[in-house]
Subunit: 210 residues, 2 copies
Amino acid sequence: MNFGIVVFNQVEELDFVGPWEMLTMWSKFADGPTNCLIVGQTLDLIVCAKGLSINPQISFADCPPLDYLLIPGGQGTRLEVSNTVLLDFIATQARNCKAVLSVCTGAFVMHAAGLLSGKKATTHWGSLERLRALGDVEVVEQRFVQDGNVWSSAGVSAGTDLMLAFIASVAGEKAAGKVQFAAEYYPASTKYGDFENHAQAPAYIKSSGG
Amino acid sequence: MNFGIVVFNQVEELDFVGPWEMLTMWSKFADGPTNCLIVGQTLDLIVCAKGLSINPQISFADCPPLDYLLIPGGQGTRLEVSNTVLLDFIATQARNCKAVLSVCTGAFVMHAAGLLSGKKATTHWGSLERLRALGDVEVVEQRFVQDGNVWSSAGVSAGTDLMLAFIASVAGEKAAGKVQFAAEYYPASTKYGDFENHAQAPAYIKSSGG
């Protein structure tokens, strides 16, 4: 089983490393995918949105057929929605994928690759209106959402929750539990400031109480 | 203000990228540190514990005096506790740091650099006994703990909670709230499987209820 995560310049760091950590824990401790791949258009180094420098493991040209594909977000998505090489790679791979997932503004790349029309989806709170404006996406204000074989999450850190829910769906609760325990993902529930009452806070944050 | 995160071969990905994301959001949105630095012994590429390849931004030799220093964990810490170049770098920098923080098994590196003797600290649940066996650390089973200018967190994902609490302490609740909102860090509380009742589950997970 091959699971690929696409990366590009100005990808947001936690958007892909959160899911990557869950994915590779799944592989290591709970019989998850054999090949977990960081896929770039080329092997050239990539500078992420906050300055972390990474090296893709495999290029689009050498990437094997993927069973699962995840598209992170970040400032770079503003350019990548017009990158026909990347969109073709995603659209072509997606034809044989069992599921495609996006994190944060990765939803816009998924849409540009033709995978989100008529689907329920979500994105970072700061881009919800922009996703609605596309006109053909049923935007929901949840931490993550599944619509058939298309999964999407809210911003940045939400990709970790998305990935655990995805693992539970594909491999069962116990596999997801092994991953969660290995990564010690029992996050604090502290809310700093009063941002759950911010005008732009999505419904799932508002309803979590002030 | 300079905030450095030390990286080394086989560093665990989320151990440093979780805090990195919070740190750089702090810098970008809430007047956090001017320089956020990924510091390596050299500029040679580093392969992380789960296979992600990264490039340090600055070497030990060129690193400016740091106000804050964070030491992530991972399989690589087993070797780094004997790496005198790295330990000297940490010990020397720490003399002028306002605070030093560790994530997961980074606590063992902090200890080897002479910073943890007589202090309260924590680490990944799988290494709590090993931390107790050092004999001179007051090990606590919390998500994270502060003892004076030394902070430490539980495993992997706990570094994100540590970093937000640290920001709240240094810059106030509102700054931490801006970071939390920007990173949309309102994690799900779902617990998969029954690992909160695992014999090795630390006290803070057990007490969170089954």
